[in-house]
Amino acid sequence: MNSVSIPLPQGVPLDGPAHHEDAYLRIVDLTKRFGAFTALDRINLEIHRGEFVCFLGPSGCGKTTLLRAVAGLDQQDDGTIFLDGRDVSRAEPSQRDFGIVFQSYALFPNLTVARNVGYGLVNRKWPRAKVADRVRELLSLVGLPDQGEKYPLQLSGGQQQRVALARALATSPGLLLLDEPLSALDAKVRVRLRSEIRALQKRLGVTTIMVTHDQEEALAMADRIVVMNSGRIEQVGSPETIYRTPETAFVSDFVGHMTFLDAKVVSPGKVDVGGLVFAVADPRGFLPGTRVKLAMRPEDVKTRNIDAGTPNAFEARIESLAFLGAFCRATLVPLASPKTCIAADFSTNAMRDLRIAIGQTRCVAFPPEAFRLFPREAGEGRI
């Protein structure tokens, strides 16, 4: 493949067996500026053959810019892109090998569904019958076998997006790019389509990159998630890794719900939060006296079977309760630290069994491994 050895990007740990030879797409030191604004800041990333990768981040984080750079739609200022071992950094989009689906579908409204799907095939000088066969095959693949003669505007949003997917897959590209493909759809359709896309991608084995700002979508679909923030990669990892062990304050805040508390390290593995001392798992080993951010997820609260031996047990008053369907989110104020507010989720079961109500004082606990510690400067917490 590629004989040029490029050092592994620093600070971007790769999950799983990340060998150079496996990388279908390799991005090296990619930088893109719009005037004074740096949209992509030395991005390094490898994506393996057959992988489903999500670029996740808030709007303006550079995820779409990165996707468009991969496609060649926006030219980067610096850096290299290798696609299947080939340097495509300066190649035109038509000289790369990808199919793309946009949030707006971008279906040609004046062409029938079948002609949309076959749009890229006609150019290949295939015989008409072969094109028709392929179009039929693709339409049944996306579950729209008899809609070929309709015009895009006569289909629902979800159907239009499937047509766009079929069109992108028609030429059997090596890389499938999805730019927020589900954002314009209703919640229900979105959930159904996301499992369909995932199943289709697995079956075809096509390497896929999806841009999304919806963390739930990324967690549900991706093999690996690339969390981005202000033009940089914050963390790359499996959905589980990203959720359970976020490496930066930004990632932990962006993915899932997180309570952040100002804390100070009192001794190795012990932090103080306004008078309340917690035992924490601290693999990084912050020095005593360091001011840190203590983070915990609301669902990690423990309400049952708490006894004298339970670590981090404390008395707290239930300040407020919000009913959110399957669970209630409570705001807890520890008696020992009355200025601190901690979010905690109680399942509907627990609510009923323990008769939890506003104003009560209860004993709760957070297991030490539920805590994450981050340096004080929130948002810039790169480690």
């Binding site: 060649g72 038509s94 946009f102 971008a106 004046n110 015009y151 895009p152 992108a168 059997s172």
Partner: protein, 570 residues
């Protein structure tokens, strides 16, 4: 879903040697070249000519000094300003009331009244003046209404300009007044606000940019119009007739250029005001605004109906008089009907030839113009090659809006008549008239095309590239079919304007390429006003005919071709 789909191994098409980006860049460069030739260089010639003496040496501001210190020249500037100010002051309130009736009341037959008011657009501005001569002239049947004042002069010019600029103001004000957020009126009603206060605090502020814009547009149209003062101005010199006299009569090109530069001033101001107004107007109406529904108030509707009957009636009546005058034997002594006046050979050496020249010219402008404008707008809006070239092309495409026809015509005289210019063989040919008219009406067409292109999904080109389909195929297979109605609009707009334009082409025609609108000027000069009215009637009828055909076609054939726009399958 079916399983076992065979995916052929993907082989990248690497045999592509031609680069799409380079091709797009070449097209953009060609567009820039064309626009420089037909817009930038003629204007540059005008500018430089105004700083040169008759023999071509640079004299700085001398020509301007001469102009402003010579009372006989300077007086026409004063006259123009007076006439333009009075006409604007009359047109704007009238057009506002008319637009209000069309957009904010439950008046019946709105479409018909709109059509009445737009009538002047389909005729050369000369026609209004010819009619006024028949009505208020020395032998006019309503001459007594002027209380002994002559219609030849400022009175006639103002009346003619009010008539011919009315639809231009109306179009702007109707647009401004139809942008109303119904919620504001509901809120005002809920607070018990009086009608007058609602008008002064909601209606007028909402339309204020339209009013300002219309004011400048009308002012500019009046100050640069050539047709009306030529026919009815008498001894009252204005800038436009002065420029004509300097260039055509006295061959004083330098002074003509100075007048052209002065005419450019109000137009440039109007252009800037329009830009500012547009920016504010857009911000005015949010996506969540609720359309305004005019309240069903019989008394209000009746009042406005009466007003529109009078105003619309005057417009239709005035233009009708010219049509009638073209059909009678000898005004005012023999009122029997005849078609003699349509036998132009009696008064015009070319007979009907000018009319056919006009038709040919308008057809060529319409076909070539819509193609060039639309392809140009596509290259500017949808390709990403050659950014600097696209910026230049966009700037040049916007320029003609700020240049009155008369000024552009002068620029063409200086540029294409210059002995050093290898393109000077075009001077006097129909081809140059086509080019000039295309340039004159470029901006409005360009903006129409841009608007349509902006409404198309911006990712079509990206999708095509990913499918390895070159952009020109998507342009032909998708963009043009989607924009077909807009392209037709542009073609009709160019055709109608090419047919009625006088001011730019009056400097450029040759014996073989005389246009109908110029023949009208000549016949009127020669005293054959009935024949002039006849020719103007023919032009107007043709223009209206083309517009009606367009409307009918758009509603029959086009609707069928655009079936994909319907949400339900048929």
């Amino acid at each position: 879903m079916s399983t076992g789909l065979v995916f052929p191994a993907s082989g990248a098409a690497s045999r592509m040697t031609i680069n799409e980006r380079q091709i797009a860049g070449l097209f953009i460069a060609a567009l820039c070249l064309v626009l420089v030739l037909i817009i930038a260089l003629p204007l540059w010639s005008l500018l430089s000519k105004s700083f040169e003496s008759a023999d071509g040496t640079f004299v700085g501001l001398n020509n301007y000094l001469t102009y402003f210190t010579t009372p006989t020249l300077f007086v026409s500037l004063q006259n123009s300003l007076i006439v333009a100010a009075i006409s604007t002051a009359i047109v704007i309130p009238l057009a506002f009331a008319y637009a209000y009736a069309l957009t904010r009341t439950c008046m019946p037959a709105k479409g018909l009244f709109y059509a009445f008011a737009l009538l002047p657009i389909f005729a050369p501005s000369l026609l209004a003046a010819i009619s006024l001569v028949y009505i208020f002239g020395n032998q006019g049947f309503l001459g007594f209404l002027l209380l002994g004042n002559s219609v030849y002069g400022p009175i006639g010019i103002v009346m003619g300009e009010v008539l011919s600029t009315f639809p231009h103001a109306l179009l702007i004000l109707v647009t401004a007044l139809s942008l109303a957020d119904g919620r504001l009126y509901e809120a005002a009603a809920a607070l018990g606000t009086s009608k007058a206060r609602v008008f002064w605090t909601i209606t007028l502020p909402g339309a204020r940019f339209g009013v300002i814009n219309a004011t400048f547009v009308v002012f500019t149209l009046v100050i640069t119009d050539f047709g009306v003062p030529k026919v009815i101005g008498g001894q009252y010199e204005v800038l436009a007739t002065d420029a004509y006299k300097q260039v055509v009569g006295q061959q004083n090109f330098s002074m003509g250029a100075v007048v052209g530069m002065i005419l450019l001033v109000p137009a440039v101001i109007a252009f800037i005001v329009d830009k500012i107004a547009k920016r504010h107007q857009v911000a005015l109406l949010s996506a969540r605004a609720v359309p305004f529904e005019p309240p069903a108030n019989r008394r209000v509707a009746l009042t406005y109906l009466l007003f529109c009957l009078v105003a619309g009636g005057i417009i239709v009546g005035t233009y009708g008089v010219a049509v009638w005058a073209s059909l009678i034997q000898y005004w005012p002594y023999n009122l029997s009907l005849t078609l003699n006046n349509y036998d132009f050979a009696n008064v015009e050496p070319g007979g009907w030839q000018p009319y056919f020249n006009s038709l040919t010219m308008a057809a060529l402008v319409s076909i070539i113009g819509s193609a060039v404008v639309f392809c140009g707008a596509y290259l500017i809006e949808k390709t990403n090659a050659f950014p600097r070239g696209r910026a230049i092309a966009q700037l040049l495409a916007m320029l003609p809006m700020a240049v009155p026809g008369l000024v552009l015509g002068l620029g063409y005289v200086f540029f294409f008549n210059a002995s050093w210019n290898p393109l000077s063989f075009l001077y006097g040919t129909l081809a140059l008239l086509v080019i000039n008219t295309l340039a004159h009406f470029y901006t409005v067409s360009h903006l129409t095309a841009l608007t349509a292109l902006k409404q198309i999904d911006g990712e079509f080109e990206a999708v095509s590239a990913s499918l390895k389909v070159p952009f020109w195929r998507t342009f032909g297979a998708v963009t043009v079919p989607i924009c077909a109605p807009t392209i037709l609009d542009i073609a009709v707009y160019m055709f109608v304007n090419a047919l009625t334009t006088v001011s730019a082409v009056i400097f450029l025609y040759g014996t073989e390429s005389k246009l109908a609108s110029i023949a009208i000027v000549h016949m009127d000069e020669a005293g054959a006003s009935a024949s002039a009215a006849a020719m103007a009637t023919v032009i107007m009828t043709t223009a209206i005919g083309v517009k009606l055909t367009h409307l009918v076609l758009a509603h029959t054939i086009f609707d069928r071709l655009q079936r994909w726009r319907c949400r339900t399958a048929t």
